[in-house]
């Protein structure tokens, strides 16, 4: 099917129906997922699917329809509904589609070989990872291993007479293992995700890490409720960055629902902190030549040496704030209106080796798992469940489970006093090891 011609025809039909501006976001996606357990294939799923979203602006009003049936009568119904819905809602002068036809050059986000690699080889890879992990002493059971890949083509066209498209791939695999000892049960998971199949981490590395995570958490000891230093492992970067990315969402800022809303240009934390959002990185999992409404992506500094430099905007929120879109329109899929979100966002690496951070900590907790929602983007409060290791006199002392950590965003961002040199840029939301001087820890 000629998707570009289809998209342009839909736009024409929207304008004929009375829309002043129209946009089509079309997605064609092939997905494969495989699961094995105890060496046996448990499931195989493969499918190709597609769909499109129609955004129209009529009388400054916004209507939207999505459909995965490209037969003329279904497309017509969707176009009619989008335009009729637009007439029913409120006018807003910030409703506007982006006019700019440019693209950002982004290298290596499509692996042409991915679909040609046999399913058997992909199954063999996860079978190997599982087998290697089960051979590691202490591991008693497999919680399964799985592989997933997707190959997609995104086409965006709008009534400013441009059509943009790109192809991308993503693949990854992971496994879970269980270590048991008496009545105790401990689980460990590890995964790797890349644009290119050849770049995936080897099975033996994943097996070692997953098994290590399960075994090392056996025989935990209770911890007294106390204030102590908290060292965040790179695996729990989300605890810091999850709420942060919602708080720098330009729409939340405009609506007064961000704890950072009034702090642009101000110091929001330790001078050691620099946070960058990069939509252009070669092979980046969240890199793309344009965002969810076709605006070119950028490489932007969000926080520099502790100073908040700016927020993320799509076209709508940017107009409302009186600035240009920063190329941060996010799109959950063809069924979603553009929202706002980061690309590859990371807290820049520091100078200290992670071992040194532990050695320099007289009393604290090395946190390797965090559960909960992270920092609350509205008020900046942080609270979560945690597991990891208690540190005494610069040494790992014993594992701890079922503890809680809590604090305010000021305590966390101002309290960061050591940053590791172990940043992994192969993840799309990532931070190195970080130490926070002191936080409230809940235990016995």
């Amino acid at each position: 099917m000629d998707y570009k011609a289809l998209a342009q025809q839909v736009i024409k039909d929207c304008l004929k129906k009375g829309a002043e501006q129209a946009e089509v976001y079309l997605e064609d996606n092939r997905q494969l997922s495989l699961e094995v357990r105890n060496g046996q294939v448990e499931s195989v799923q493969e499918a190709q699917s597609y769909g499109l979203g129609i955004r129209v602006i009529a009388g400054k009003r916004l209507g939207f329809a999505f459909v995965n049936d490209f037969k003329p009568e279904s497309l017509k119904k969707s176009i009619d509904r989008a335009v009729e819905f637009a007439r029913a809602v409120s006018p807003d002068e910030n409703n506007q589609l982006p006019a700019e036809p440019a693209l950002t050059e982004v290298k290596a986000i499509y692996d042409p070989d991915l679909s040609t690699i046999s399913i058997d080889r992909k199954i063999a890879l996860i079978q190997e990872a599982e087998k290697l992990a089960l051979n590691i002493p202490g591991v008693t059971k497999s919680a399964g291993a799985s592989y997933g890949e997707s190959e997609s083509q995104i086409i965006i066209a709008n009534s400013f007479n441009w059509v943009k498209s790109f192809k991308s791939t993503g693949c990854g695999y992971g496994l879970g293992v269980i270590a048991e000892k008496g009545q105790q049960k401990s689980a460990g998971y590890e995964s790797t995700n890349r644009r290119f199949f050849a770049d995936l981490k080897p099975a033996k590395d994943l097996a070692r890490v997953a098994a290590g995570k399960a075994v090392e958490m056996l025989d935990p000891k209770p911890l007294k409720t106390q204030r102590a230093a908290v060292i965040l492992h790179p695996d729990v970067a989300y605890a810091i960055l999850g709420g942060f990315i919602q708080a720098i969402n330009g729409q939340s800022v405009l609506q007064g629902a961000s704890f950072l809303g009034k702090r642009a240009g101000q110091k929001i934390g330790s001078e050691l902190i620099t946070i960058i959002d990069d939509g252009t990185r070669e092979k980046g999992l969240a890199s793309a030549p344009f965002d969810g409404e076709g605006v070119p992506t950028q490489n932007r500094i969000i926080v520099e040496n502790g100073v908040l430099k700016g927020f993320l905007y799509n076209t709508y929120a940017g107009r409302r704030a009186g600035v240009k879109s920063t190329g941060n329109a996010s799109r959950g899929g063809f069924a979603d209106l553009p929202g706002i979100g980061p690309h590859n966002i990371y807290l820049a690496a520091g100078q200290t080796r992670p071992e040194e951070i532990i050695q320099n900590t007289s009393r604290g907790v090395l946190v390797k798992e965090v559960t909960g929602y992270g920092i609350n983007p509205v008020n900046g409060n942080f609270t979560g469940g945690a597991a990891g290791f208690f540190i005494e006199n610069g040494k790992i002392s014993f594992p701890v489970k079922g503890i809680t950590i809590a604090g305010t965003s000021d305590e966390i961002f101002n309290g960061i006093d050591l940053i590791g040199n172990d940043l992994d840029l192969n993840r799309s939301l990532t931070a190195p090891t970080l130490r926070i001087k002191s936080l409230q820890i809940g235990g016995e």
Partner: protein, 508 residues
Amino acid sequence: MTNLWPELKPMARRRFMSLSLQGAVALAVSPAVVKNLLAGEDQSQLEISPGLLQKTIASALKRGGDLAEVYVENRISRSIILEEGQFKSAVFGLIRGAGVRVIDGDKTGYAYSDELTEEKLQRAAEVASFIASSGKITQPVNIKEQRRPSYVTVKIPLEEAAEAKRMEIMKRAEEAALSYDSRIKMASIDYYDETRDRIIANSEGLLLKSSLPLIFFIVQTLAAGNNTSHLGRERLSRHAGLEMFEQDTPEKAAKEAARESIAMLEAKEAPAGKMDVVIQNGWGGVLVHEAVGHPLEADNIAKQTGAFVGKLGQKVAADIFTMVDDGSLAGFRGTTDFDDEGTQMKRNVLIERGVVVKFMTDILSARQLKMERTGNGRRENFRYYPIPRMTNTFIEQGKDRPEDIIASTKSGLYVQSLSGGSVDPTTGMFNFTCREAYLIENGRKTAAVKGATLIGSCLDIITRIDAIGNDLAFGPGICGKGQSAEVTAGQPTVRIRGITVGGTRARG
């Protein structure tokens, strides 16, 4: 916890949430527009010939296997957002497709198609049959349409209601929220409804059809005080027509969200450490949904990894504790006529007077464990194969009066509502974030506290429940397990002795 690839995005995820500030622009919908929006023509006609279904099932079993199934779905949806005094957007959705599944021993093959053509269904059958290797030949039984009782009744069908009617309901909620208190600075109303048509056919001769309406209505209110703000929320959801709002009025939902926003403005820092916790009736049942319900889903048991492996018939909680999953409660958000594999919905007692008596199964785990099919095989849409999921899950009514439970708690935490949480079904470790909580001091509910987290392990927590109220109530929600499902969670007021609470201040 079971999602290994948070970085690969699934397609077509529906989104409900958004925030906003107060604005003051009123809405006017002209009558001419309203007339155009009468949506009668959106009534779906999901048609597929029984012959094509039969042929697809036969093809799917060509390489062997125990069971083959075709699931056909059509979903028409609408969502409207009102925030800052404006109707920001209105969205129409039309999604259809079919999934073909083959089960061969412990293996599942699955493929789906957006197109309901013979060519695409044959291709899907071929891909799904890829896993069949046992050599077991199953002769499919000829499909014959069956009827099942429905637990959903509709007075005002969604497809006959004008958009203006929906918008009027939203406007009523907004007005009620903003007039509640001058400190309410924003009201955001999300309206969503859908009609989901399903056809399920399988090699056991099953052929079932159903059409289910669903409404999901979310009110969020932002209150601003001195250097602090709180976002309150209330949700309504039922399988029903627009008559749902006659009972669960938009004003009531809006006032509840606004009340929470204001109450939490004065909240102090929450204490940290182990303490007694009383959880109010209603959506608080999400704690046992996560902590106990997920580990009782039979896929964890069949895989020999779940926290309740080997616990069937064993006493795990006090006599007062009975837990039920019931997908046949009339009109509830977790209710369907039959599950997404065609199994009849019913009341399933999971834990009876403290003893584990049943696991929640889908067809696959029921086969593996040689247990009955409980009607818990559910899927988000045709792009997913079914897995064991909860429906409407609750702690059964107890005998204690809620006020007595508080009065007999010397000190601790009173949790009025929970945001949500998660569990690792393997270890049973769970965590929850409180939306609204208060200190209990000398048997009385006192100051509001913010930012409290509850954590623990499932097998431990149910032994610590020592009081259950006589005030069973429910709340609607979304449950995620690699794919999302509509659920309700329920409970009477309960007390849990000695649970770890995470807060920002040391206790004392």
